[in-house]
């Protein structure tokens, strides 16, 4: 057993963190919000230049052919920075959907351009309030109809993988007459969401079937890495503030009410990180263990980031409620991450359904 990241993976994480520290400081996030920006395009280009976009895309399609843990290390850094890029939509979901379910021609057509960042894609699955994996959209005779909403990053996406009737995936280019995109008021101000109406849009079917669970399990692991990175950033921010802030003649961080709160966040974060590692390992090396590993990673990821985002703002007190402080980026993103890809109830149910030994029947 060697349950640690490799030296190469640790180095990859350091490179990602260094790039993000340089290009995506909090003031940059404020500028993006103030300008109603769709995304941080220069950062996306830089991620492409570093090879991060193609990290998990096979080498024959222009990527680096690395695995889930390598991708996870990048996701963790993106989560920590609260970066405004469509990495989850374009790389973790859409590119992986094409790799899993696409035809050889579809892979050859799109994966190299997704790896280079030249094309941005998204994965359209929800159809309004309720369970997020909805299949009301229809694909008939290469024409796509229906409404997907909300869809992350759809304003800048050139391409969408769309979940349709029967659990199939449709591949559709978004710059065409049969596609109408309407920007919604996104709770996460750094991740725009859209309503997309497909009115007989030209679309291709993707030949791979029954790939939704695999795709979502893998993405859940990546979401857990993102949540762990964000929770860790909140924890460090809260700790640093509490150490600096003087109150009643001593540092705020000297009070047990604060120490114990942050200790609990630290525990939840380390347990979630451990589940994310296992999920990444299972995705790469032990696919039979992936469903349970992904569900556990997802649940503990949601939990740690929820605690961290809330308590970080709480520790800051009134200043945490200002736009000038940095707590709100995470406070908003946390809710988005908690519901995208299915909420806690969905993943709790899934964990009990797939956990070996847990399909217990009444005596």
């Amino acid at each position: 057993m060697n349950f640690d990241l490799s030296d190469e993976q640790k180095m990859l994480g350091e490179q990602a963190r260094a790039l993000l520290a340089d290009m995506s400081p909090y003031d940059r996030l404020r500028t993006l919000i103030d300008s109603d920006a769709e995304w941080d395009e220069p950062l996306w280009r830089a991620l492409a230049d570093m090879g991060f976009l193609g990290a998990a895309i096979p080498e024959e399609h222009g990527g680096l052919g690395l695995g889930s843990l390598d991708l996870g290390v990048i996701m963790e850094a993106l989560g920590a920075a609260n970066a405004a890029v469509p990495f989850m939509s374009s790389i973790v979901l859409a590119a992986e959907a094409i790799r899993l379910a696409g035809s050889e021609a579809q892979r050859a057509a799109w994966l190299p351009r997704l790896a280079s960042g030249e094309v941005v894609a998204t994965f359209a699955y929800a159809e309004g309030p309720g369970p997020v994996f909805a299949t009301g959209a229809t694909l008939k005779a290469s024409r796509l109809s229906g409404c997907k909403s909300p869809v992350a990053d759809a304003g800048i996406a050139d391409l969408a993988v769309v979940l349709v009737e029967g659990g199939h995936f449709a591949l559709v280019e978004l710059n065409q007459p049969g596609v109408k995109r309407t920007r919604l008021d996104s709770f996460d101000q750094l991740r725009p969401h859209y309503r997309i109406d497909f009115e007989g849009a030209a679309a291709e079917t993707m030949p791979g079937i029954f790939m939704l669970e695999r795709l979502v399990d893998q993405a859940a692991v990546q979401a857990a890495f993102e949540a762990v990175g964000a929770a860790d950033a909140c924890l460090r921010m809260a700790r640093d503030y509490a150490m600096d802030r003087q109150i009643f003649g001593r540092p705020l961080g000297g009070f047990q009410a604060i120490k114990h709160k942050l200790a609990d966040v630290a525990v939840a974060t380390e347990l979630a990180r451990s589940n994310a590692y296992y999920g990444g390992w299972a995705a790469e090396s032990s696919p039979d263990d992936l469903p349970a590993a992904a569900a556990a990673a997802r649940l503990s990821g949601i939990r740690c980031f929820e605690m961290a985002a809330r308590e970080n703002l709480q520790v800051h007190g009134g200043i945490g409620y200002t736009f000038e402080a940095n707590c709100h980026f995470y406070y908003r993103r946390e809710r988005m991450l908690a519901v995208h890809l299915g909420n806690r109830a969905f993943w709790a149910d899934r964990l009990l359904n797939v956990q070996p030994g847990s399909q217990v029947k009444a005596a």
Partner: protein
């Protein structure tokens, strides 16, 4: 990263498995049948002897001291395989191997090592821990049991005081004991560490009637107990360093035997919901149990990370406290939930409903887990201070001679 055994680890596991298959079944305790504690202790010694004879004692202990000098990972593998059998491995074994041996190995003289280590590995000497007192628990260094030199020039020590929560003190051979030898210096500096033969005149153990109904813990009264200076571990006044060695062992060792979430899934599934299904069909129950299961999994993989650190020669330090902190509260929360989902039958079960008895016991016992071996609040302080680097507590007792302290 590789979660599977390396070829060497797989070979070690196969070796352990085959030895256990040949030797463990004869030592297994009967399931669901209470046996007298004297018999349990005897069986514990017999298993220790079997382990020693088979070369499976003191796996991580240096070879020079009678151990096998293996890595932490190999000890984990053996514990995993051994855990598949219901063996007599209570505190009467683990206090010796997990607490007494590390402190003797680190602070003992060569003569003390020769005298205690091998007999402990063999099960010939079993140990209890004489640390906590009625007024010294989380603040252990506030202990009052005192030792003074005998006035006969022998160099012996005369000990008077009271210890509490000494598991199995009535059946074990020796105790590890920390006492105050100098009340004129600040409290951490006036302590000295001893090993004491539990048959020494003046030692009286009385069982404590616990809220579980069981009495595995004792209070131990020490009245003019004479301890030769040869049984002092470390120098006079260095008792606190010895205690730290012991308590680190307790932290890393705690949790070898755990009640997990999985049996509670079965318990929920065996409880009707009155609508033709079971309580496991209900999302409120599913969500709480699934979250507990996810946390339990995370803890398992977190421990794997800690073991990897240990195998690379890194010290996990206060990170190890996270495991117990998470486990103890979850243990209480999930068993409390189980009693609740059972309905009123969770409170008063029919005689053949042993599952409810187990849940009730675990719910009662979970209170111990949250207090013993570092209370939740102590662990949170440790994590905040040593992992997150936050300030230590404001103290009223710093640099104050013990005898000047209030209380």
């Amino acid at each position: 990263m590789d979660f599977n055994d390396s070829p060497e680890e797989a070979a070690f596991r196969a070796e352990a498995r085959s030895w256990l298959a040949a030797n463990a079944p004869a030592h297994e305790l009967p399931v669901g049948v209470a046996i007298p504690d004297t018999e349990e202790a005897d069986r514990g010694r017999a298993w220790m002897r079997a382990l020693y004879a088979g070369g499976w004692s003191g796996l991580t202990f240096p070879k020079a001291l009678g151990g096998r000098g293996l890595s932490g990972i190999e000890a984990v593998i053996f514990a995993e395989e051994e855990g598949k059998y219901h063996l007599p491995k209570g505190p009467f074994v683990s206090i010796g191997t997990g607490m007494a041996l590390p402190v003797i190995a680190k602070h003992g003289t060569e003569e003390q090592k020769a005298r205690f280590i091998e007999p402990t590995l063999k099960g010939d000497i079993t140990w209890c821990q004489l640390f906590s007192e009625p007024a010294a628990g989380s603040d252990l260094a506030g202990l009052r049991t005192k030792a003074v030199r005998a006035d006969d020039g022998s160099g012996d020590w005369i000990v008077n005081g009271q210890k509490v929560w000494s598991s199995w003190a009535h059946l074990t051979d020796w105790g590890i004991l920390v006492v105050r030898t100098d009340p004129t210096v600040p409290k951490h500096k006036g302590l000295t560490f001893f090993v004491v033969d539990m048959k020494t005149p003046g030692i009286e153990t009385r069982p404590i009637r616990q809220i579980s109904g069981a009495s595995e813990f004792n209070e131990t009264f020490l009245t003019d107990v004479r301890i030769p200076d040869a049984n002092r571990l470390g120098a006079e006044g260095e008792g606190w360093a010895c205690c730290m060695t012991v308590l680190m062992g307790e932290r890393l060792g705690s949790g070898a035997h755990r009640s997990g979430v999985e049996p509670l899934l079965g318990y929920a599934a065996a409880t009707p919901d009155g609508r033709g299904g079971t309580m496991l069909d209900h999302s409120a129950i599913r969500q709480q149990l699934a979250e507990a299961l996810a946390e339990e999994q995370g803890e398992r993989f977190f421990q794997a990370r800690l073991r990897t650190m240990v195998s690379k020669g890194e010290n996990p330090g206060a990170l190890a406290a996270m495991v117990k902190l998470a486990y103890a509260s979850r243990y209480q929360r999930t068993n409390g939930l189980a009693l609740e989902l059972r309905g009123l039958a969770g409170i008063a079960a029919e005689a053949d409903d042993t599952a409810t008895g187990d849940v009730q016991y675990d719910y009662i016992y979970s209170t111990v887990m949250r207090i013993a071996g570092g209370a939740d609040e102590v662990l949170r302080n440790q994590i905040a201070e040593r992992v997150l680097g936050m300030p230590g507590e404001m103290r009223m007792d710093k640099d104050v001679p013990f005898e000047k302290l209030k209380g």
